[in-house]
């Protein structure tokens, strides 16, 4: 008779210990870890607009975007962004103009193949569902600090059933600060470039 009772007691203790340990681990995870997402290259877009000879706005885009995002809505400081844009994926509609943007006159894409933004600090934004993301932007071999306001556009189930999230930001850079000086002083190509970044990311 002793044996079954002893066995039940051991199993009960083990189950209780397992439940306790799971509970503790789950609480710690919620406090310290943000939800991790991989940037979806298909549904993410990086567009830019720059003035041409002080007249029109010229729009172009980058076709290859990758990276990862970690979002903690409760504690935004736990969030993190890493975004990599392939410089040679610049697309200006006309192939020769695209080649010119890839050349040493502009992006020098063979020498500086990646445009990278990595966050160093994330804080809650002024409005609900927004974040102030501070980080370092590396473009054309030059790294500069940058703070952008990021809006969480929405989230939900994606086409494969997994959770997806949408993030959007626009910001302006002075291209001269990154050594992109072609047509800078003459005004042929505007000094300021507005970037529009729209990211869709899939929960890992």
């Amino acid at each position: 008779m002793k044996t079954p009772l002893f066995g039940i007691g051991i199993v009960g203790l083990a189950l209780a210990a397992l439940a306790l340990s799971r509970g503790a681990t789950g609480a710690e995870t919620a406090a310290a870890e943000a939800a991790e997402y991989a940037i979806d290259p298909t549904h993410s877009n990086v567009l830019f607009k720059v003035q041409h000879f002080g007249a029109s706005w010229f729009y172009g885009r980058f076709n290859e975007v990758s990276g990862e995002v970690a979002i903690d809505r409760e504690k935004p400081a736990n969030s993190h962004v890493l975004m990599i844009v392939k410089a040679s994926s610049v697309d200006a509609k006309v192939s020769k103009l695209t080649d010119h943007l890839r050349s040493p006159d502009f992006l020098d894409a063979v020498q500086f193949p990646e445009i990278v933004f990595e966050s160093t600090k994330v804080a809650a934004g002024k409005k609900k569902g927004t974040f102030e993301v501070t980080g370092e932007l590396t473009l054309h071999g030059v790294t500069k600090p940058l703070t952008v306001a990021v809006e969480e556009v929405g989230s939900g189930a994606g086409p494969t059933g997994g959770e997806i999230v949408g993030l959007h930001t626009t910001f302006t850079i002075d291209r001269g600060e990154f050594g992109l000086k072609y047509g800078y002083d003459s005004g042929a190509v505007g000094k300021e470039v507005l970037l529009i970044v729209s990211v869709e990311a899939q929960r890992r």
């Binding site: 006309v94 192939s95 020769k96 103009l97 080649d99 010119h100 050349s103 040493p104 006159d105 020098d108 063979v110 020498q111 500086f112 193949p113 071999g141 030059v142 790294t143 050594g179 000086k181 072609y182 003459s186």
Partner: protein
């Protein structure tokens, strides 16, 4: 706009080169009082190229100060740093060692991005070896020709090559590289004028090596980082060797001015072919003249 660009890119390096060369050669002195300013050619061209670089596409970033330098920026610093050693390395042994160091610095510095991002293993070794061999052939040829042909002959031939490189680079995709080639060529302008004034002027003893260093470096950038086609690159690469034409028997006994003209015309043939080929491709381009 174009006038200001020319003033910055051509006049600034030409003035700097002229200042250094005139101070070294002091052409107003004659006879035994006239100094041999041969040492000044390399530092004059190296410094003038850096000034031309800064005047056209902005000052190059400092090495080792954070951030990745472009091959063009490395070239500007290598040219500046090489100026004084080339001026003092007159003995053949020292000059050979220096040329070896410059070969490593140029190929590794200017093409660093290719070795980091694009080439590895056997292709990287083959590219390095091939380019090092080509560069050293040019070093040897340029110095030998400069010793055999003092005066205006070699500055004139190199101006033809540099102008061709500038035009071809501009027509095949990079205005910035065209401006750099223009600045390097402009630095040779005062050398040409001085050579007509003082016929014993020579690019031998370092200046010829510096000219090769800078033009070869810009050519590497145009070929590997821009869109200089293989045909145009090959024609420009071969062009300087045609200056040897004046060493062939029919021309060897001719007067120096005839031989100088023959050298420049021989060099002009492949250079003109490269420029014409690039111009024809440019004119059929819908983006031309945007």
């Amino acid at each position: 706009m174009l006038g200001a660009a020319i003033a910055r890119g051509v006049l600034a390096p030409a003035l700097v080169a002229a200042l250094v060369l005139v101070l070294a050669w002091r052409p107003w002195l004659s006879g035994a009082r006239a100094p041999d300013g041969r040492w000044s050619g390399a530092p004059a061209i190296g410094l003038a190229f850096l000034v031309g670089f800064a005047a056209t596409i902005g000052p190059p970033r400092l090495p080792f100060a954070g951030g990745a330098l472009s091959g063009q920026e490395w070239l500007a610093w290598i040219a500046l740093a090489a100026g004084v050693p080339l001026a003092v390395a007159a003995r053949p042994g020292r000059a050979a060692v220096l040329r070896g160091l410059l070969t490593v610095a140029l190929v590794e510095g200017v093409l660093r991005a290719m070795f980091v991002h694009h080439w590895s293993g056997a292709p990287a070794i083959l590219w390095f070896a091939g380019l090092a061999l080509a560069l050293n052939l040019h070093f040897w040829s340029a110095e030998a020709l400069a010793r055999r042909a003092p005066g205006a002959a070699m500055p004139l031939s190199w101006i033809v090559v540099g102008t061709g490189l500038a035009l071809t680079s501009g027509l095949t995709g990079s205005t910035a590289l065209a401006q750099l080639a223009g600045a390097a060529t402009a630095a040779l302008g005062p050398a040409l004028v001085l050579a007509w004034w003082r016929p014993r002027f020579s690019l031998a003893g370092g200046a010829a090596t510096m000219v090769v260093l800078v033009l070869f470096g810009i050519g590497l950038c145009a070929r590997f980082y821009s869109s200089l086609p293989r045909l145009e690159a090959s024609l420009l690469l071969c062009a300087p060797f045609l200056a040897w034409v004046a060493e062939l028997p029919p021309l060897r006994s001719r007067r120096p001015r005839v031989r100088a003209l023959a050298r420049a015309l021989a060099v002009l043939v492949p250079v003109a072919a490269a420029v014409t080929s690039a111009a024809l491709a440019y004119e059929s381009d819908p983006y031309a003249g945007y």
